[in-house]
């Protein structure tokens, strides 16, 4: 898993193609997982409200294929109940996604990718442990409304094993609808850069 995170980080910092785009994105949605156990009790409610907010950086390979990375904050709020306790969790995590996208036409784009995300709060990080990070498979469908505004349907699916103590406040999977605002487009060639 460390190799995956390294690959994602390196790829997200080494993009150098001709056209680039900066965007900001806000998504609202629903996070969930099939089963959640706390205190040896199976929880009835395993879902959470979610907000993602962050910036995207896109680089075009050619007219159709592009790569996209970004930096996101991911907030989840959920309510859970066991026999002795009802509690509300509020959770903010940082996510680093990397996608490969395909521009279907001038209106629709689709991308798949992966992300790394902190699995623990900073004060619980132990660099000798393997469970500091979580890894998700991502999909993103984008509808281009106009030059400035796009709408997205984003999903995440956690792929690594982790105990429920980490996902109880940030469930494994998510479905989000979002708005993307195009900040700027630049057109550069490699020759320009040299």
């Amino acid at each position: 898993m460390k190799k995956i995170s390294l690959f994602l980080v390196l790829m997200s910092t080494m993009l150098s193609f001709s056209q680039s785009e900066f965007q900001v994105e806000v998504d609202l949605g629903y996070a969930f997982q099939s089963e959640m156990i706390l205190n040896d009790e199976s929880l009835d409610n395993t879902s959470a409200f979610g907000v993602r907010f962050g910036v995207n950086y896109l680089k075009m390979f050619n007219d159709k294929i592009y790569m996209e990375t970004g930096l996101y904050g991911k907030y989840n709020r959920g309510n859970r109940r066991i026999e002795t306790l009802e509690f509300t969790s509020n959770n903010l995590k940082i996510q680093l996604p990397l996608y490969v996208g395909y521009k279907i036409n001038n209106t629709w784009k689709f991308s798949v990718g992966a992300s790394i995300e902190n699995n623990k709060d900073f004060d619980n990080i132990d660099f000798k442990r393997e469970d500091n990070l979580r890894y998700d498979l991502l999909t993103k469908l984008v509808y281009v409304y106009n030059n400035k505004i796009q709408f997205s349907f984003y999903t995440n699916w956690m792929v690594n094993f982790t105990y429920d103590v980490y996902t109880i406040s940030s469930p494994k999977n998510g479905l989000y609808l979002g708005v993307i605002y195009q900040l700027r487009k630049t057109k550069k060639t490699k020759e320009d850069k040299i």
């Binding site: 205190n39 930096l71 306790l85 009802e86 509690f87 903010l92 940082i94 709060d121």
Partner: protein
């Protein structure tokens, strides 16, 4: 490259946070109005009667060796078990003494007769005795104070249930009051020192030779025949197998090394080692202080725990013994038998941790209200699940 990954994410980590808002469905007792008489619990309740100003001075100056005298009363379900027993009280612990709730060492004026098991009544190993107790402590669960309040006890009970050939401390969960005011939920625990070992074997303190290995592998001679301790350490330095095989209780040493390395105690053996002998008997090793077990390097082999990078006599002793074919064979067979049995399984560990959790579940909200650690009842439950998960992860790795 690993560092690069972490550097990039570190800013993000610093922003990440989780919090929980509790709505507890239990009857939460207010610690400010709680007394030994009105507390609703099946646990033992201790009430120490101490001079308020002396206690405050001792508590505030916990790094100094201040000992005060007082009286102990112990109740269970409103029935008095021990009445007005004169005791000496002092603060115990090193790092854990900095916590707001501090461990208290309790020493009886005379050795306490516990034949009726009124003071402490845990399940014990058949070769131990708790009939007499000279000293014990109300322990704040050490470095686990901020997490579960039951970690050390759970690991110790696992060893006892497995019937390992170990010397250890015994504990019972207890609610402690000082001058009728709620001090906190603590673990009434026997001692791992000369007093503790002499009582376990029903011998006089003067019959015990005991040494410690402190942080960094430094040997500290505590009591008894110091020349014998010196000779023992010299034999380790000289790799004198023939001397050492006769100086240690081999079965005890094997179980001790297997258990500590199986559970993954990173604060050992360069620290937290005590070995002792009764008169001319062989040296035995004491299992204690398991607060930092399975917190780091869960995916490391038992041998890597034994071969701690910080040099220490126990690692050296083990390597001398393990180089011998007979010892190695005995060790490996015992290791496989124990690991493959259900005795040290996560199933068994979970049962123990769940039992201890259930015992204190009703009093933890009160404890959290007073000490704000862990910050919420939810986090306490999560910490216990985390404790179980770590054991399971360790078990899966070792097996």
């Amino acid at each position: 490259m690993k560092q690069l990954t972490y550097c990039i994410l570190i800013v993000g980590f610093m922003c990440g946070c989780t919090n929980y808002d509790d709505n507890i469905k239990l009857n939460v007792q207010d610690y400010k109005t709680l007394t030994p008489e009105n507390i609703d619990t099946n646990l033992k309740v201790a009430n120490l009667i101490l001079d308020e100003s002396e206690f405050k001075e001792m508590y505030d100056n916990y790094t100094e060796d201040i000992e005060i005298q007082g009286v102990l009363n112990l109740y269970k379900n409103g029935v008095i078990l021990i009445e007005n027993e004169v005791v000496e009280v002092e603060i115990k612990g090193t790092f854990s003494a900095a916590f707001e709730l501090k461990s208290l060492g309790i020493k009886f004026d005379d050795t306490y007769n516990n034949e009726d098991r009124k003071l402490i009544d845990p399940e014990i190993l058949p070769f131990h005795s708790l009939d007499r107790v000279k000293a014990f402590r109300f322990r704040n669960s050490g470095n686990d104070f901020e997490n579960t309040m039951l970690k050390d006890m759970s690991y110790t009970k696992l060893a006892v249930n497995a019937g390992l050939n170990l010397d250890l401390t015994y504990a019972e969960q207890t609610v402690v009051f000082v001058n009728n005011k709620f001090l906190g939920l603590m673990n009434l625990r026997t001692e791992a020192n000369t007093n503790g070992m002499s009582r376990l074997y029903g011998v006089s303190k003067s019959d015990i030779t005991l040494a410690k290995i402190l942080e960094g592998g430094i040997v500290e001679k505590k009591d008894g025949d110091f020349d014998r301790i010196d000779d023992f350490i010299a034999a380790i330095d000289n790799e004198d197998y023939d001397y050492l095989i006769n100086e240690i209780d081999v079965d005890n040493f094997i179980d001790y090394m297997i258990f500590e390395s199986y559970i993954g105690n990173r604060d050992w053996p360069k620290n937290n080692v005590r070995f002792f002998a009764v008169n001319d008997g062989p040296f035995r090793f004491v299992l204690f202080d398991l607060d930092l077990v399975a917190t780091q390097d869960i995916d490391s082999s038992p041998m890597s725990f034994i071969n701690n990078p910080i040099g220490n006599p126990i690692t050296d002793l083990f390597n001398i013994m393990y180089a011998n074919e007979n010892f190695r064979q005995t060790y490996d067979v015992r290791f496989q038998n124990l690991i493959n049995s259900a005795l040290l399984s996560s199933t068994r560990f979970n049962e123990i941790a769940t039992e201890y959790k259930s015992n204190i579940e009703h009093i933890m909200p009160t404890q959290i209200n007073k000490y704000n650690t862990p910050e919420t009842f939810t986090e306490w439950y999560l910490n216990i699940d985390h404790l179980k998960n770590n054991f399971e992860a360790r078990e899966n790795y070792v097996r």
